[in-house]
Symmetry: C3
Subunit: 331 residues, 3 copies
């Protein structure tokens, strides 16, 4: 791990200086891509094109690791890395079962009327979600209403509806297009570190297992930040900065989160501490890996989790990017 640099002198001016660089057009683009688990090709393609083009202007041009062998994951290696940042590129959604039936991909909130979009060999179609609840068992049956039946196995995503106000942005899939966006902003000035764009997170995972092996073996990395989105609660509020999560369904090591908190405090970064009993992330595969990892979840909190209306504070987006920059310089 590197020595801490003197970066804590004027954080406030730095944060406001960053304001104009918030390129929310990029976030909007990311939110309009569809990448349900198992079908992350479109996000992968976009990222590879974007990074190939933009990385010329970055402080350090990263080594790109990808290809058939890596499925739709993409790894960026900057300088001499000691920390890896994981941002998952997949999204929740639905798979078309038989006839009009749907089964869930990951854990979307299901409410009649939600607009969905999908594409099969006959083209793209927009449909509406229907939820019927069995009054005896409480079991939910999911179907869709549309002009034609999709082909069996077609995957549907929420229809993006981008909304922006002075203080907030709102759309489906802030979770985790915002993590991807944060990682891309971090990349612009990152000198040493790894950024992983991973797949399958919303539906049980699977890719972080082999990526962590590669990173542990090749770069001897043992610490990671999970760059993902959490939720507003009675203890976590909008505009108060990203959460450093003290736990969700998993518990990171105390010594590890304390180190992060100390760096954040020393650098006057805006953040809040989260404590939950549920919720998970790519961290699970690090925790259960056959290599040693310290990890912590760091990211903004949103309202309307796993609906088409995920809503995040712009101030929290900025503060997240700033916190990531500080952490990666000091870990």
């Amino acid at each position: 791990m590197k020595q801490e640099k003197k970066t804590g002198s004027k954080p406030k001016s730095k944060i406001s200086a960053k304001k104009e660089t918030l390129n929310l057009g990029l976030l909007k683009q990311l939110c309009h891509l569809s990448a349900p688990c198992g079908n992350e090709g479109p996000m992968f393609d976009f990222l590879l094109t974007y990074i190939t083009k933009e990385s010329k202007n970055w402080r350090v041009k990263p080594k790109l690791v990808y290809g058939d062998k890596w499925q739709h994951n993409l790894i960026l290696v900057f300088g001499k890395p000691t920390t890896a940042v994981f941002a998952h590129i997949d999204n929740i959604g639905f798979t078309v079962r038989y006839g009009k039936q749907l089964v869930r991909i990951g854990g979307p909130v299901c409410k009649s009327g939600f607009k969905l979009i999908g594409k099969d060999d006959k083209g793209t179609q927009q449909v509406k979600l229907n939820v019927a609840v069995n009054s005896k068992t409480g079991e939910k049956t999911l179907t869709y209403e549309g002009k034609r039946d999709f082909e069996r196995g077609t995957d549907l995503s929420f229809l993006p509806d981008w909304r922006e106000s002075k203080d907030f942005v709102q759309c489906c899939y802030m979770d985790n297009r915002l993590g991807v966006y944060t990682a891309l902003k971090l990349a612009e000035t990152l000198e040493n570190g790894v950024i992983v764009f991973s797949t399958y997170e919303e539906h049980g995972g699977g890719s972080v297992s082999y990526i962590q092996k590669y990173l542990a073996e090749t770069y001897k990395i043992q610490q990671a930040l999970i760059c993902d989105v959490s939720w507003i609660s009675d203890g976590v509020k909008a505009h108060k900065g990203p959460v450093i999560s003290l736990r969700d369904s998993l518990i990171p090591r105390k010594v590890c989160v304390n180190k992060l908190i100390n760096i954040a405090k020393k650098n006057n970064c805006l953040f809040q501490l989260e404590v939950e009993g549920s919720g998970g992330s790519d961290a699970k595969e690090l925790q259960m890996a056959e290599y040693v990892w310290d990890w912590c979840f760091v990211g903004p909190a949103e309202d309307n989790v796993h609906t088409p209306d995920e809503k995040v504070s712009k101030k929290d987006i900025e503060a997240t990017i700033e916190l990531y920059k500080v952490l990666l310089r000091n870990l």
Copy 2:
């Protein structure tokens, strides 16, 4: 991966030509063996003996990988493999707890009157399953009726009752003796590929994890077919061919299943597409492995899942074997 060969010319005649080679006596033998999770020795012994004897007549004699180090798993390596076929050899059942109590091995359907068989130091005994349901909590208590108590920890399997009609075969443990049978039929003409006879699948798995590591390291294999049995549903019918599963509780990669579907179509193979929200297989350990795997579940569907009365169409058995032959030649 190999180039696709010209094999699609006369599939129909090929399938009918195969009809006479369906050796259901072998399947019947397999169904009569008992191999509950953790006690797969009898199936392993049978397979090792059978393969040692029969493989002389196979197109390619495989390398056998087995021994103490491999517990009761058995791996067959043919030629230069690029694809692995996983067929689990274990079965569901019950463990004798204290007195007449039973606890489940895997997820058997529990119905009073089901006939069970078990063996301890005092010999083999046939007993009957009893299910008592607590009317308040809905909790089920499982016991057995028999002349004597089994020793604590004895494992019981369903009593095999083989039934055969013009179109169907029926017995306990089609899941997964039929997968084993399919793999053995595939082995007869297989030129390149790996066949894995794995243990523990019905009770959470555990063996595929170290087997996939061996295959990935030794043969650089990254793709697998799960040779197991699925279930008849509102979208999957008897006599319509094996299912290529687009998903169950896990979601295989779209690019991978599309490749299989294209090969199957090009070769006029009979198959149907399955989409479920639940159910799992050995694929879980591949998905979560520290090596990269593409995988897909391919197998016939049965009625009366996890009962002593599992029932499968003979036509689907034939079509499964044919599909496996085509896939292994073309992947």
Copy 3:
């Protein structure tokens, strides 16, 4: 595996000879340490100090494996090991959420009035657990009563209340301070074997995965005993010796448990056989590992599981230590 030695000649006198060496002061000390999952530092520090000091008097001085790279795990390697003993050092507890709210670490029994203890930057505080049950949903809300609020994320443990009678010891965290104690007693005379003091077991695990990899690669070890505490039931009674578990939620291989049982019988060790359908242990990570492991749970049974009142028979503690000595000499 080693040849069995002639050790079975006078087991009874041996067991009684051991009685005076039962150093329950050490067990009491261990029970008074706090080490909730993710914060096992205090237990690690105690063990490292104790072992560094005491191991001079042991029959064989073990190699110690530990350090930043190993988090708060500690591995002791004696002679030429063929078997690893896993004893987890973490304990269940609670994390302070927002205000007075608590979320569980692992699966503690929750009963209003249970005394808890925690430490934050303002010092140590003793508080009381409060459990409110929603009469409609049955959902439990956990809070604490104390003079001041703990800092967010503070972890609380049960307040130790050591009780000792002629036949029993009782305190919180027999699970698994007793496993740690057993392993330390075993260490005194162990010639060949590995003892692992592992973390995180009570909350989903994570450390055994990388430890087993190290052991499998470095020492080619493939068999393990889980040195942990089980529970009194209708088939398992106090004073009847440690359980050799034929299964819990996982099923060990029959050939493996049979080997243990035979060694125990041959050496006239006191033990009882357990069969459960639920409950888990560090074994899960061995079962699911990418290396081959045979494993079995061996340990005493307790009353009042996961409460501050865990109660174990002294005779069972002695018999457990004796059984471990016999097993490690003969496996």
